[in-house]
């Protein structure tokens, strides 16, 4: 291994999520053999993104400016608020194109194991937003994990006294395209209990 800036670049790349030393080496070589078309534009854009992308003051999304385009968009339904754990989940829902409301990013889920309590999450702003604004439906789009579900319970508890609000969660069941054979027992029994009428 060669010491110096190249070795440092490989170490920097290897520290990125999902990469190791071997893939970092391969990427560094690819970049070095495509300096003008790949390496320099990437460096330039990294600087530009670091400068221009900020956390939205309203929902916690990452976008240009201090209020993201979803929160700015006047055509979005401001009476529906979707609570997600992180930016990646917001992006995942946006990619479906099937949600037209606004978001609130918690910044994680409650986890006794990881020592994440209510004070570590963006919960106070959520509670006060729901109380102050005219929210008719709160969608708790949290993972179907113990942590996600206990976070949903906590939020539901905190909003127990708020009237005229519907609190919902994502449906549990078979993933679209999923085979019964490969599914775990609890998903199958959940899907069986929540079975829907055909043609309904």
């Amino acid at each position: 291994m060669i010491d110096g800036p190249l070795d440092m670049l490989i170490r920097q790349l290897a520290a990125l999520p999902g990469l190791g030393t071997r893939s970092a080496r391969r990427i560094a070589l690819h970049l070095l053999t495509n300096k003008d078309k790949t390496m320099l534009p990437l460096a330039k854009n990294l600087n530009f993104v670091a400068e221009s992308i900020q956390t939205c003051h309203v929902c916690g999304n990452l976008d240009e400016g201090d209020i993201c385009r979803i929160c700015k968009d006047q055509t979005r339904d401001r009476t529906t608020l979707c609570v997600v754990s992180g930016v990646a989940d917001l992006w995942a829902i946006e990619r479906t194109g099937s949600y037209k409301g606004t978001y609130h990013i918690l910044g994680g889920v409650l986890s006794a194991l990881d020592g994440i309590g209510p004070a570590d999450l963006n919960l106070d702003a959520l509670i006060s937003n729901v109380r102050a604004k005219n929210i008719s439906e709160l969608i708790l789009a949290l993972g179907a994990t113990v942590e996600g579900q206990s976070t949903a319970h906590y939020i539901t508890d905190q909003l127990g006294d708020v009237k005229d609000i519907k609190i919902t969660r994502l449906a549990h069941g078979l993933p679209v395209g999923g085979e019964l054979d490969f599914l775990d027992d609890s998903t199958i029994s959940t899907a069986l209990k929540a079975r829907a009428n055909l043609g309904a």
Copy 2:
């Protein structure tokens, strides 16, 4: 998905070898949440490496300056020349720390399928180097593939008239730590033919 510089960054990352859109998104989010410690240093070093790392005029290695530290190093044995396909292979041999000679990078191997002929490789410089310099051993450290072996044959042919030179290749056989059970038949039969005396 959000359009703009962030979307462009994800596309740039997804185009790197071994990465896809999903891993690129994960890396972009990781970078954005670690701007000062990860994103800006990476951008800075990408620019620095693009400027400072060049192809060595002698061997074809990538290093600071126009002659690499291996070619500069007076303690390396200049009578032994190791021919490799690319920089990654040179790095792999260097990492073992068991080779003290110099290198020559071909920039690929002969491949009729991919349309790579002798003119596409750094072969002329190799042949004239071997003729001009006092090389006692030429190690053809090329892959044990059809292409690697036909490239080795071609080089051996070209140097048929050079006297007092030993042309060698890497040994074929069991990888260290390898189980017989998982090896292909031709490796086993090669290893069997080239069996070595115990304690010899």
